[in-house]
Structure formats: structure tokens, C-alpha cells
Subunit: 339 residues, 4 copies
Amino acid sequence: MTYQEVLAAARTCSGPYCKACPVCNGKACGSTMPGPGSKGTGTVAVRNYQAWQEICLNMDTICENGPVDTKFNFFGHEYDLPVFAGPVGAVNLHYGDKYNDLEYNNILVPACAQAGIAAFTGDGTNPEVFTAAAAAIGANGGKGIPTVKPWDRDTLYAKLDAAKASGAKVFAMAIDAAGLPFLKNMTPPAGSKTVEELREIVAMAEKPFIVKGIMTVAGAKKALEAGAKGIVVSNHGGRVLDQCPSTAEVLPAIVDAVGGRMTILVDGGIRTGIDVFKALALGADAVLIGRPFVTMVYGAGAEGVKTYVEKLKAELADTMAMCGAHSLADISRSMLYGF
Amino acid sequence: MTYQEVLAAARTCSGPYCKACPVCNGKACGSTMPGPGSKGTGTVAVRNYQAWQEICLNMDTICENGPVDTKFNFFGHEYDLPVFAGPVGAVNLHYGDKYNDLEYNNILVPACAQAGIAAFTGDGTNPEVFTAAAAAIGANGGKGIPTVKPWDRDTLYAKLDAAKASGAKVFAMAIDAAGLPFLKNMTPPAGSKTVEELREIVAMAEKPFIVKGIMTVAGAKKALEAGAKGIVVSNHGGRVLDQCPSTAEVLPAIVDAVGGRMTILVDGGIRTGIDVFKALALGADAVLIGRPFVTMVYGAGAEGVKTYVEKLKAELADTMAMCGAHSLADISRSMLYGF
Amino acid sequence: MTYQEVLAAARTCSGPYCKACPVCNGKACGSTMPGPGSKGTGTVAVRNYQAWQEICLNMDTICENGPVDTKFNFFGHEYDLPVFAGPVGAVNLHYGDKYNDLEYNNILVPACAQAGIAAFTGDGTNPEVFTAAAAAIGANGGKGIPTVKPWDRDTLYAKLDAAKASGAKVFAMAIDAAGLPFLKNMTPPAGSKTVEELREIVAMAEKPFIVKGIMTVAGAKKALEAGAKGIVVSNHGGRVLDQCPSTAEVLPAIVDAVGGRMTILVDGGIRTGIDVFKALALGADAVLIGRPFVTMVYGAGAEGVKTYVEKLKAELADTMAMCGAHSLADISRSMLYGF
Amino acid sequence: MTYQEVLAAARTCSGPYCKACPVCNGKACGSTMPGPGSKGTGTVAVRNYQAWQEICLNMDTICENGPVDTKFNFFGHEYDLPVFAGPVGAVNLHYGDKYNDLEYNNILVPACAQAGIAAFTGDGTNPEVFTAAAAAIGANGGKGIPTVKPWDRDTLYAKLDAAKASGAKVFAMAIDAAGLPFLKNMTPPAGSKTVEELREIVAMAEKPFIVKGIMTVAGAKKALEAGAKGIVVSNHGGRVLDQCPSTAEVLPAIVDAVGGRMTILVDGGIRTGIDVFKALALGADAVLIGRPFVTMVYGAGAEGVKTYVEKLKAELADTMAMCGAHSLADISRSMLYGF
């Protein structure tokens, strides 16, 4: 199946909200929540997508005509591409009842592993979602990153404890989920964590720990101070706070501040291998892609994931070749116009 | 009733001009005057709204997960929110004959007081409008700010004299009303005031006095020199002069010039609690919101006001939490991207 | 008649090309030539109009509430407004056969004089157009500026000679007419003039001489060097060269270079008294307005001219009052936002 | 025939993809490949076109009214205009089966020579395309530039060897063709060349050699280092890599880096003589125009080419006259607004 064919199939089963658009740019879903939209005016997802489009590439083909290698090492695992599927929760609510979160993760995790990448998996009010995802990751050689929400201390520790034995090698927490409706007004309160609280969580996890939802230099430094091994520069696709800047806008300053001292991932509107190239050229180590993987799974299950990963890889390799990069390490800001 | 339900109800009774749009951004009314439009090309109201949209928020949830306090102290009164209803006049002309100004103020003033905020009330050629509003404010514990137009000296003094006994604690004057059609060519002339004239008015008012309609640093300094305790950075929603800059554009320089020495309020296109947050982050102490309160009163009277104030408060509190502010004093320019 | 009524009347008789649009902004006519359009892609007229819209006003009504005086002195004549009707030629070709140039000028010149302004009159291949316009100007107290095209020396001198006795007090030449189709490939050649040729023409005219069609600092300096007493910063409404900058963009630097040493006029997209104010605030002494006067004459003859001039005057006076200017001399760049 | 008539004729025979639009700006074809579109999102061709539109001209007609000379000397040949037809391949695939590449070149090459310009001719998997084009160039006095693709060494040398005897005086290679689908994954590999490989090719060609597809200062310096006598600043009309900057954006820095030391040509969205003027003002020596020549040949063969070249010449000469340039050498950056 081609990417367009998977999209067409997804349109028949991805529920009332997602249109499985030819280009997933946040325009058709706007502020549709439930659904794949973003919060408030619904413009953050659009801004995320648009920011990547506005970055231009410095084509230069006076260079060696050698093979292009897109391999990526992540805390000891080697992946074919510096791309992860992003964590998504409540898929039945937002994308249609073809799958619930358990079913979704049980397709996504092995499909990613087989396609040469890995998935960040989601978390929900049902505790089984997180632990089952961790188990699926363990069953696939530890290729995947269970991603917990910022619950109160006890809930959080119980979830991480249950998942630690799964074989997952890396954990993550979406700290910006504080802005999701279902986390607000919980008793005991969920949401923001201080550096001290975060340091305790990181220590308790006993694995490399990634903090997702960083949008400022100050936030990145606090994550580093708390002992996180990585961050995801992310505004949660616009779903936790309206009118954030795009992730592409804030990424360079964050790279300048903490790059080299922790792994820097980024998500938000990344759709093609060209976008992946741009993110790496700005200094990210890898990227997360969210909504499109949902469409791929709804449209064609594991085959959809494979189709999309192959498309991303071909686009990334082509872009690298046209800009004179033969490995991920060759990619630099000087390959972007005006940087 | 939800905010959208109040809007829907307003559509049935808010006259031929106001459409009670889902987003009140000045586009549908354009240069419609009479009506809620703005003067000339009708672009100032649009520009006001748009300027807030273009300011982005620095989300950062690595912080204490404590309660958020939106309380605001204004010349001795404590309000739940740093938000005032703006002064509006001739509501029957501009919004439909469901209410006249007297009836409108008699709903608005107590509704605001009950909802935890206060109203700036309007003024008209009928002298009773101003004095009755002042009386309503007095009857609600002095929670409200009678706002006079810049009449000739005698008219102005007579109005203020009549209102002084009302119990209102703060007075204001919309000095930019000089650009309203019905004030032009009056005998004796109404409109602009020199610093000396303003100083005399401020002294005569014997209460903290606020000058509304400041759009320049020079104007703010003159208001300060005249003894005003506060200003409203305002272009009167575009209704007195076409092609002004937006208030969000001019606010920072005015804050830098007179901030800390007088209270700085701002209006123009502020619609949500996110906009309120941005105004405070730029340095305003509080905001005025005009047109939406008219729609709320036309749609559902006091209940409409309550609905809107609760919506504003929830949005402001959510934004504060997502940017790491626990009180209004915590809000700073560093919470805005690029500032 | 109101301005909108004159427009409506013009729509019935202004030929197949001009739509007498509610806002004359160059969009509906685009590259329509013959017609009121501009050359090539037809974007210059749009750009001219748009540039004025983007300049914002510094409203400030803390000032004396005195009368506003819009009077303007131009080479010994006093006019009510710093506004001239611009030179237009071949009206029957471009706007419809209700009038030919002779008839048009015979309405426009006295109508302008009666309305308190003056007209720059056009020139054509029919020599009578220029000389009859000069005669009409003479018959109206010399209030008007005969504007010649840059013909070859002999033709030019014959025209100026014939016109000198008319009583016109000032002459002008549209030197940029070099780009009009009917002037190209003439024998002997018409068009560009060197500084030396221009100096000879200026001397021969024996009256204050204005060079119209200046778009650069270098061009302004050359006009000054040649002895011109004034210039019109103009791109001929986009009709002589596609993709010029707008006149509002180039005006400030030209004012900085030659202001105070010669009279500086400007045209291009000026439609309202607010635009006039902005041009003066940027440093122009007065403005020319072209296309709208044609519409006014086609719609209602002298009454149309009067209606439009009164509208311009009211708008200019209102803007002056709202920005604190009581005379043209008070208008300064500090009354524009960001300048 | 007029230009518009040739376009109309082309619409009847230029295949299913090209619309022969009134303005050839990349919008209607977008990412249509096969067809005249560009790669990926299809925005590069649009950006190329738009960048020229945004550059404004400094009109100045206070200058000598002398004849305008557009003659251009290129490696010993004198042409009427600094314009070349760009290399196009697989015309039957992209524009319709009225012609194949051999037939197309056999019309284009002599038509250009007769019209006073020359063509860069294309290359294809069929080796005859390149050699027959070289022969056609030889038969037309050497007026034309055979342009080879960056094949593997043996294929490339065989092609150049076969063409050297043709009488062509200059050769070119489109090094960015590395991004075309049919060149990828060839065995032996085609595409990028190192400076050393390029130096060997340049030496082997024994004629002035031009490298087409330079978009960076670094690339231009490498071409110079390899001994190329010229470059074409080009992103291949967006057909080899999505989201390149426009050529107009990158041209000035490349001119500043290698200008005077090699001939600098540019292509991408140049459609009118005004665009040609702007390219020269930015520092290019001449330009290539691609898609419109295809439309001209499909619409009217040699007559179409003649019509378009005459249009370009008239526009260029008019622009030069209006900006005060009498020869190509007079054209300078100071004739562009803001440069």
C-alpha cells in the first residue's frame, strides 16, 4: 500500500473527527477536541507544521557520491531512523472506536520495532494502558519508551514500579499534560512537578528518563538539573496550552543551552523526512511524530506503519544526499538557509 | 448556560448590527457605525484582536503544583479577576432596543459585582445615564468606575458633582471620545483637554482618577503629570480614530515609561483569559473588555455576565498554571516568547 | 450628494474599465490598460494604496481643544487643503466617452478652484489639451498647474510658450511619462531628460517649475540641481513602470535629502484625509490625488468635486485634532507610530 | 502571433499537466510530476517566481534619452539579450507527446539562434538526445550549450566525447540532477561529484564549462576551485529538492563571493524582461528561462520562440530606460529599491 492508500483506508474508520488529510497540518481539525485538534483557538498545531515549512534547505551536490546512512543510536538501541512514534492516548475517544488504547499499542509497538523504529507509548486513567504498553515494549526487545503522565506521587510510583520489570530501557514523562482537562482538579493533584520532585522521580525510575513538554531554555535547564537524560521539545501538539510558539522556533536556543549534555528530541508538525532533516539540522538528536502514526494504524495496521516509515526514510536519505550529508552526524545548521 | 448558549441567545435580540460572533474579532462588523464597528476602514478593532493572538506563551510546567490565585486589588477593593467590563454608551443605538443605557447599566453593574469584578460605566448626552450609573455603583458597594466623557468644563463639573455623592471610589474620563461624532462641533466645545485642564478636573474629582484613551508614551506622561492615578491604554476599540496601532503594540513602551508610578489598564480585542494573561505579562495591572459584555447582557443578563467571568477566570488560571505563575504578581514578560 | 452617491452615479457612465469601487485601491482594475489600471502585473497601484494603510497614527488628545486649520500656501496662492487633483489624460479612452480631455479639464479646473483646491492638468498628443487647460487655469485666477509631458525640445517649448500667457503661476512636467506607450519611439524622441536639459526647460518656463515622477533620492537631488522648485514623488500610479516601490515607502528618505530646499508633493493611492495627514507627517508639503477626481467628475461634475474635497477636509481636520495638530505646520513624524 | 495567442495555442497541445497559464508561476502545477510541477510540497517553483516579484525597481528618468542596448557577449558569441532557454528533458512525458526531446531540440535550437539568443539543451537516458542536441548547436554556429547530466564517469565521458566535435563552444552539467528520480539508484551511481571529480570533467571537456545547480556560496567556490568558467544559480525549478530557498534570495551572496571570477547565470521563475533586469541588477551576467520556452514551442514552434524573445527584449529595454541604464554594464544593484 502507498501512503495515500493507507490514508484513504483510514478515512473509512478513523472516527468523526480526524479527516486523515492528505497533508496533516492541523487546519481541518482546528480546535476539535475530542478529536485530533488543539486547544482554544486551535492554531498551535498549524503553527507547528508551518514553522518547518518555512525553513529552507541549502542544496549542495558538489560532494562525494557515497551511500547515505540514517542509522540512529538511542541509549544503546540502534534504530534505522531518528524517528519515534509519539505517545497518544484515548484513541477511541479522539480517533474512533476501531481501537482502544490497549489494542492500539499492541499493534503500534511491534509494528514500529519491525519497521526499525520505536514508539513512545501513552498513558491513561485506566492503569492497564501504561503497564500493558510497557509489557509490549518488553516483548519487543525493549524497543519503545513507556511515557507516563504527571500523576500524583503515589499513582506515578505505582505505575513506574509496575512497568520497571517490563524490559523497557528508557522511561519518559509528559510533564505538560498538566494542561489536559482530565488531569486538572484531580485529588490528589496531578500536573506540574518541581525540580526536586522530578529528581526523585528520575531516581526512582532507575532508567534513562526523558521529560517531554519542554518549550523554554529555563525548562530544559531544570530538566537537566533534575537528572533527566533527555527532553522532548514539545507543546503537546497544541493540546495543553493555546498560543504556544512552534517547537521549531524554540528548538535552536534550547539546543544551544543544553545540547551535548542531554539527548534532545522534538515533535510538533513533523510529517516528512525533510522535516526530520531540518529538526536534526537545528540540533535535535531525533524526532517524535504523533498523529500520522494513528492514521497509519487505523488505515492499515502494521503495514501502514511500515509504509510511512519507509516513506520517511527515503525522504530523509534523499534530503541528506542533496545537502551533502552521509550520516546523521554530518547534518548541521549550515545546511539550512539563513542559519 | 454556556458561553456559546449566551451568544446564541444574544443573536436573537442584539439588533441589526452585532452578529454576536463566535469569536468577537471585529471582522464581521468592520466599519458598521451605528453598530459595534470601528471608524473609517474599520480595521483597528481587527488589529487590536489580532495583536494579542500573535503573542506566544512560554509554557513551563517544571514548577510547584500549587493553587493559582487570580485576585486583584484595585484602589482598596479586592476583585476576583484583573478584569473590568468596559464603558459602553448608546446601547440601544448600537446593539438594539432591548435595553437603553440606564437599563443596561442597572443589569451590568450588580452582575459584575456579584461575579467578582466591576464595570466601567458609560456616559451619554442624557445626563441621567452617568449619574444613574454612579448611583448603581454606589448601591453595589462602590464597585464600579463611572466614566465621564470629556465635556466642556461646566457640563463635566456638573456631572462629576452629581456623581461624587454616589459612593463610587474611582472616576474615569474617556479623553479620546473627542473623536466621537456626537461630541464634535459642540458648543461650548467638548474633547481634548490640556494637562492644566486635566489637573483641575483630577483635583475636582477628589477621588483616584483614571484617564482612558492613552496610546503614546507622551500621552501617558501627560496623564501622570496631571495627577491621574491610572490610565487605560485604549484606542476606544477603533471607534474614535481609524488606523491606530493596536493597544498590545503600544503597551510595553508605556509600561516602561510610567509603570510603577500609576495603575495601567488596557483594552482592545481582549477576549479570553489567555489575552488577559498576555496583557498582564506585558505589564498591565488589569484589563477592560467591552463588546463581549454587551453580548452577554443582551443574551442572558446577569447570568451571561457570570458565565463569561467564570470562563475568563478558568482560562486565566489555566494559563497561569501552564506558565508557572501562582499569583498575578508572578506574571512577567519572561513568560511571553520573544520578550 | 454624498461621496457614495457620486460613486454610484459614476458607475453608470465611467466606461467599461473603471468600476468606481467603494474603495479605489487598484485591485479591481489591476493591469487594465486602456482603463485605470497599472502596467505589467498591475500591482503598483495596489502597493501604493496599501502602504498608506500600514502606517499607524499616534492618537493623543491631551492637548489644547482649539480650532484646526488646514490652510495651505503654495507659491503665493492659499488653498483650503494641501490637496491637488492630479493630472489625467485621455479620459475618454481610459474612463469612457462621456468627456474628452478638454471637457474634463473645463469642469475640473473651476470645480477645484471653487472647492478651495487646485488641479494639475494633463497633456496629450492633441496640443490643444495642454493649452486649453492652461487657459482654464488662467480664467480661474491662476489656480492650477499645467503639467506637460516630456516631449522633444521643440514640442515642449512650443507648448510652454503657448501656455505662458495663460496666467498659470506654476508649471509642472511628468518626466516619468517616458514609460507611457504613446511616448515611446517618437521621432524626435520624447522621454528622459538630463539635468542640463531640465535646467534649460526650467529656465525657459520662467515660473516655479515642478518635476513629477521622482522615486529616488538621486532623482530628487537632480531635480533640485536643475533648478526645479518642487517635485512630485510619484510612480505615475503604476502606469509607467511595473514593480516600483510605493511612494509612501520612498518618501521619507527623499524628504530627508531635499526637504526644506524644495516643495515636496506626493501621490499614489492617497484616498482619504487620513492618508493626506500621513503624507504630511512623513514630510510632504501636499499631495496629489488622481483617479478619485475622475470618478467624482464623471459622477457629478463640479458637485462631485465639492463633495470629495469636503470629505477630505473633514477627515484631515478630524485626524489632526485626534493627533494634537492645530495647523499643517504642527504635523510631524512623531505623530506616526514607529517613526 | 502575440504571446497570449501562443499560450492559447499551447493549451490545445501541451498535454494533461501544463495549463500554459497566463502567468507561469508554479501555482497551477504545484507538485505535479510527471508534468511541470516541482518536488514534494511543490512550493519551490512558486517561491522562485514570487521572490522576483518582491524586488522593486528604482525608477529614475532624469538621465540621457539615448538608445538602449541589450547585447550580451558570452564566451565569444554575441547575443541580442542576456537570456538563454533552459535545458528541459523528457518533454513528451512532462508536456505531452506532440514532441520528443529530439524533435523539441531541433525546433528550439535554431529558433533561439534566429531570435538572437541560445538554448541550453537537455540530456536523457537515451544517449542520442544529448549528442543530437550538440549537433543541432553545431549546425547553428555553435550557438547553444549542451548540458549533460551527472552520470557515472564512463557514461559522462562517452557523452562529452561524442559531443565535442559538434561545434558547441561551451558545455554545462546540471549537477543537481542527483535529485531526479531516474538518476537515483543507478549502477554505477550517478549524481554528486567531488571537486576533484569535477576538475577532471572540466579538463576533459576542453571547453568553457558551466556547473548548473549551485545554491550556496560554498558550492560556488567549489565550482570555481574545480575550474568551471561559470555557474547557474539554480534549484532546478524545484524539481530536485523540495523547500529550497528561491534563487533570487541566494544570488546576491554568491555574486559577492565569486563575481568577477566566473560567469554567473541564474534561473528559476524568471518570466519577464523586468525579472531579467532584476537578476542582472543583483549581479547575474545572464539568465536561463525554462518552462515558458516549452510552452512557446508547443504553441507555435519557432514563431513562439521569436514572439517570447521579442517580448522579453522590449520589457528589458523599457525597464533599462526607466531606470537610466543604456547598456547591460550600466545595470547595478543601486537600481533596485533597498539594495
